[in-house]
Symmetry: C2
Subunit: 460 residues, 2 copies
């Protein structure tokens, strides 16, 4: 049980305060309720929505029926699912001015929507909202995720021109982009990482809409995939009708009458009606930094130990967190499974479990319904890799880019001593526990074919 | 009160276990006793001695009476003092095989001498000794300090030659070097940092003994002082009779009949009967690393948060600790005041205080009885500095090296935006609180003369 701190007059007290309304926060809430079914919990979120999952926003929601008004979608197995974890009614939703009602022993989790935390004081155990009001906690979680980065070239545009430029993170963004996508115009997606590549593929399905994707790397997912797979992926996106511009660093944006001209350092020019920036994420760490918590100078994020604890009674989880991975060293991870599992552990530790984060998180991504991959550990294109490939099913559409050649496979990311630091499986699913075991063991591997066989891949 | 973990059969339990018998550990012991006078504490030390202070080992002990058998010395004010914090009798001293007697509610602090901790298990809250026996704790402190580094050129020497080479950290080393120093031979001190410079000055007082000091930098304290002060200090050491070889990186050691020939990369050769290596410190962190605790990749040391906590119930203090300095960012500090104050805070936090380490530690050093300096914050020769100087007392001995010119002064170490990150006062004492205030305020300073006036220095 969390001890109650010294009360402060006029400041309401809630034992468990979770900052952020995303996946990590929601998962912590679940864990706390599992450990202490009657625990009083308050979630504070800048969003107006109750917690939801983001991955379908760049995948399933684009491949289902014509309209997604209710944010219901079919997953790849054909099951109908919703974006929200729980209906609104499962929460006791309040606004910042209803703060006096806090901590009155509710049976539901209290949810403060449209509320921004601007300060945290570990000394008197309070958080301060943008409207100045304070809330006292026994234990607090910071799970504020991140905000999409933006490129400086867009900053000086007129308001009209700016209205043609967006970033992509939440439900509002999905609704806006869906509308734009139906307009049979040219959309430029900037960025060749997870989001840019998934969105380009998703948008390519919209008939009459032209998709251009541009980014500085040599090919899609160039910071993650080995080079040959990057090249192949870029060819695939070309096949899907996407005009991919590689080695293209944005140098200027010129406002035209009713479109934008994007100029790149390599001489390429793109005329776009709309622009989606998918150029990385900046952790929402400012208020934590201003509150004296440590920020990781090398990789951004709030510094926590292996128990996801920053200071006594202060925890962090999800995208915003730089944590000590006991197997692979200090890291920050921006993926869904990590948000779930670090959120859960933080929740349990907030109830006193005191356990280290030993879960090796995985992630998945899809490039349309026909190509999917999963990965765990450190998958960084800067590391040496060893890949083993097998033929996949024949598909006319992709014949001439060697769809069969890279039908399915496994890529091992190696340390200089040839320990396996990361594993990526390509059109092979459900092998992440095996991959985790290999990474955890930390053995030196020289026979990669033998390893690949464990994943069901027999090289020719 | 620390909760008792789940008992393990045959494993004795002590609520507070302090690993290391140095200053940080001793200070933690004091703090725990202040907070909980009847607390049961066990100190485990690799040394055979009870806790003592190291600073006099390279200073006062060399300038006092002829013999220091009892490790009694006069401080610069003339007061007689001892090296040990407390007499042996203040502890309940035991050996590793007396471990069954642990935790039997002693009134004295229990002290396990000549015992090395080789493992720490945060899960079942045990430490393991080199002899295999385990002890269970409620809270544990790691205050294992460091081991002097050594140069590879000495590693391949014969045993006879090796017996002419030493490092310098503890009482045994003092006794050995004192004997050597009386032998009217040539002693080479390698290293131009704190220890090398202090020891060279200390040894220079031994009549008939020749002292050579060699190091890679341009002058003494070259990694700390601004360049002009480094040059001046090297001139001072020359005046004291020390043969200082700058820009001298050891490349080879040749064994001669009854001496060693040291060959440096700049062509310089030194014939020495004895060699003292003072080439930096390596934190004693191996067992912690093997136990899954995080090691700071950039600066070494066990990673702890601002409360000096590594994991729940696991704290670290002193030289071995990489901590979050809320004012100046992550650091590791190898000085006495830091060992005392971080040890004290860790002790208090082990009893439940949960306070951040906001003390900005200071250090001092002496180059003989006539020159002393104090400093706080980040004093790194790589930073831009601003120094203000005033004439000191006239001294014939040092006339021609400008003793008066650098009689007393203050050096400010600045950030790129001209915030004061560190302050060094030269022959000016007792101004560290003022310096701390300036660093804490974090203001941009352009009028350095005005700042210097606060320190009692009026530039000409
Ligand atoms: C379109 C899209 C698709 C994705 N697809 C995948 C995928 O296929 N696979 C995968 O592994 N990962 C995927 N991800 C990544 C995954 O969604 C994230 O890693 C995950 O959402 C991180 O969860 P989080 O709780 O840490 O942060 P978030 O989900 O970003 O939640 C943070 C919350 O904190 C709130 N907040 C921020 N600052 C404050 C403040 N000061 N006060 C109050 N509230 C605040 C925010 O409004 C938000 O509600 C995808 C991400 C996106 C955007
Ligand atoms: C000669 C000398 C002069 C100095 N002069 C000054 C000065 O003038 N001013 C200043 O500010 N600083 C000075 N210092 C530095 C200062 O003494 C140190 O910063 C301070 O001693 C650090 O304290 P500590 O407790 O962290 O480590 P230590 O004092 O090194 O204590 C560590 C203890 O841990 C024990 N230990 C290590 N590993 C294990 C293990 N696995 N199991 C059990 N026990 C273990 C060691 O045997 C030792 O007893 C000087 C240092 C030296 C050597
Ligand atoms: N399947 C998944 O796991 C998945 C899917 C979608 C989104 N996400 C997450 O959403 C967040 C945002 O995704 P993202 O793709 O923006 O981030 P990312 O880190 O995956 O990719 C960043 C990309 O930004 C691009 N970039 C950087 N500087 C640029 C510049 N000057 N001009 C043009 N492009 C530039 C690069 O192409 C780089 O690949 C990330 O946290 C990501 O992990 C994850
Ligand atoms: N007054 C004080 O605060 C004080 C006094 C004595 C000792 N100490 C502490 O004792 C420890 C040991 O002191 P130290 O002087 O060895 O460490 P230091 O870090 O102060 O100095 C290291 C020195 O090693 C030398 N060096 C590095 N590589 C070398 C090489 N290849 N060949 C020759 N020299 C090389 C350099 O000259 C450098 O200045 C440190 O923790 C120090 O802080 C502190």
């Amino acid at each position: 049980r969390a001890e109650r701190p010294k009360p402060i007059k006029g400041v309401p007290f809630v034992p468990y305060v979770l900052i952020g309304g995303g996946t990590a926060s929601y998962s912590a809430m679940e864990a706390i309720r599992e450990a202490q079914p009657d625990a009083q919990i308050l979630i504070i979120s800048e969003e107006e929505f109750v917690p939801y999952q983001r991955p379908p926003l760049s995948k399933e929601l684009w491949f289902g029926e014509a309209s997604n008004k209710d944010l219901i979608f079919k997953d790849w197995q054909g099951n109908e699912r919703g974006l929200f974890y729980l209906p609104k009614e499962a929460f006791n939703i309040m606004t910042p001015d209803q703060i006096k009602l806090l901590g009155t022993n509710p049976t539901k989790v209290q949810y403060l929507a449209n509320a921004k935390v601007v300060k945290l004081n570990p000394e008197d155990q309070t958080v301060t909202l943008a409207n100045g009001s304070r809330i006292q906690y026994a234990r607090v979680l910071i799970a504020t995720g991140g905000t999409p980065k933006t490129l400086p070239a867009f900053e000086t545009l007129s308001p009209e021109a700016k209205s043609r430029v967006m970033t992509y993170r939440g439900i509002e963004d999905f609704k806006r982009l869906e509308q734009i996508a139906h307009g049979k115009k040219t959309i430029a997606v900037l960025g060749g990482g997870f989001l840019g590549s998934e969105l380009a593929v998703a948008l390519a399905g919209e008939s009459g809409t032209r998709i251009v994707q541009a980014f500085p790397e040599d090919g899609n997912m160039g910071l993650v995939f080995p080079r040959y797979l990057t090249k192949w992926t870029t060819a695939l996106l070309g096949r899907l009708g996407i005009d991919v511009k590689t080695q293209a660093d944005l140098s200027a944006v010129v406002e035209k009458d009713d479109y934008l001209e994007l100029q790149f350092n390599n001489g390429v020019t793109v005329e776009a009606d709309y622009v989606v920036q998918a150029v990385g994420l900046m952790p929402n760490q400012k208020f934590a930094e201003a509150s004296g918590l440590e920020i990781d100078a090398a990789r951004n994020g709030i510094v926590v130990n292996a128990e996801l604890e920053a200071r006594t009674n202060v925890f962090a989880a999800g995208d915003v967190t730089s944590f000590h991975d006991v197997t692979l060293g200090r890291r920050r991870v921006e993926h869904y499974d990590h948000a779930v599992m670090s959120g859960r552990l933080a929740g349990f530790n907030m109830t006193g479990a005191k356990k280290p984060y030993t879960h090796q998180s995985m992630f998945w991504s899809d490039l349309g319904p026909k190509v999917g991959y999963e990965a765990t550990g450190i998958v960084d294109a800067k590391l040496p890799t060893m890949g083993v490939w097998a033929k996949g099913p024949h598909d006319n559409l992709f014949d001439d880019i060697g769809f069969e050649e890279f039908g399915k496979g496994v890529v091992f990311y190696l340390s200089p001593e040839k320990k396996v630091l990361g594993v990526l499986t390509w059109n092979v699913f459900g092998k992440m526990d095996l991959a985790r075991k290999i990474i955890r063991e930390g053995k030196v591997h020289t026979d990669v074919d033998a390893l690949a066989k464990l994943f069901g891949i027999n090289s020719a």
